[in-house]
Symmetry: C2
Subunit: 150 residues, 2 copies
DNA sequence: CTCCGTGCAAAAGGTTTGCACTGGT
DNA sequence: ACCAGTGCAAACCTTTTGCACGGAG
């Protein structure tokens, strides 16, 4: 689990954002953000639903989808690109990259300073205005690698 | 449109692959590959279906999905990661990167030599075995940018 | 001639939408 | 008290699957 302080910060920042914009700080939003902030994996909407349904009496899958969509729109969480159908989410908004396993489809984070300095062509590509970038590294995660050699 | 020679090469390579592996070179496979190889965008399975259904009498959506899956398995085309639900495909197998528009969700290619030299940490990340990588650059494409300033 | 590949229809997810109610501000 | 946010159910859309037929090797 991530350090509690990080989760608290995230929640606090979101509380402020809600106040600023007059958004309702509902139990659903709070617990979903709390859950997503405290995990390392990149859960799908459904996995988040499974995780929070015991904490929020009678929460619906629909709400999870809507809350996540709101978070994405606010820039509080990110939708992770991956080559599979399901959308995956993460609360880490610091620039980092993703290790995507070709075998088990898991998505792991990779914070590596060496990759931060990469210069993305800002002007060259047909007038495209660069906002951010992320590297998707595909390969085999350690556990799938282990299985292969067995 | 891409230069015709590129399409021809792609088809020829696929013909050889079929011969080698004893795969059937059906009209469906040929026309779908021809279509995907000749376009610059990153069409969804459905967009390809729309494009080829007039050329292949009575083709079914199912076939398009299955043919694309076959191509991906053979490494002839790639499934592009993007932060939206639908899978997108491309026939360009040379390493390159993607410009993803936050506004219109379009995916454009970016071949930039400066990005080819990037050293991805091969050993650091928890025993992950790196196979390949691709950079997803998010921002605004030129036409969406133009609209915004209007 | 033999199967692989296809078409059809139906199922299986994942995600979105309309509407009425409820809880946060 | 007002209205954004939620729950429910149903719709929607993409993708997958089972089965029988037909065409490529």
């Amino acid at each position: 689990m991530k350090q509690q302080p990080l989760v608290d910060e995230k929640i606090k920042a979101f509380e402020n954002l809600c106040r600023e914009r007059g958004l309702a700080l509902t139990i659903q939003r709070r617990i979903i953000l709390e859950n997503l902030s405290s995990r390392y994996d990149h859960p799908t909407a459904d996995q988040i639903y499974e995780a929070v349904k015991d904490q929020i009496r009678g929460v619906s899958r629909t709400t999870v989808y809507r809350v996540l969509e709101t978070f994405v729109r606010l820039g509080v969480v990110a939708k992770v690109s991956n080559p599979h159908a399901k959308a995956r989410f993460e609360a880490d908004t610091v620039r980092h990259h993703h290790l995507i396993c070709l075998d088990c489809n898991s998505v792991a984070d990779c914070h590596d300073g060496r990759l931060d300095g990469i210069e993305v062509p800002t002007e060259n590509c047909d007038g495209f205005e660069v906002r951010d970038f992320s590297i998707a590294i595909t390969g085999l995660c350690s556990s799938c690698r282990r299985e292969k050699t067995l």
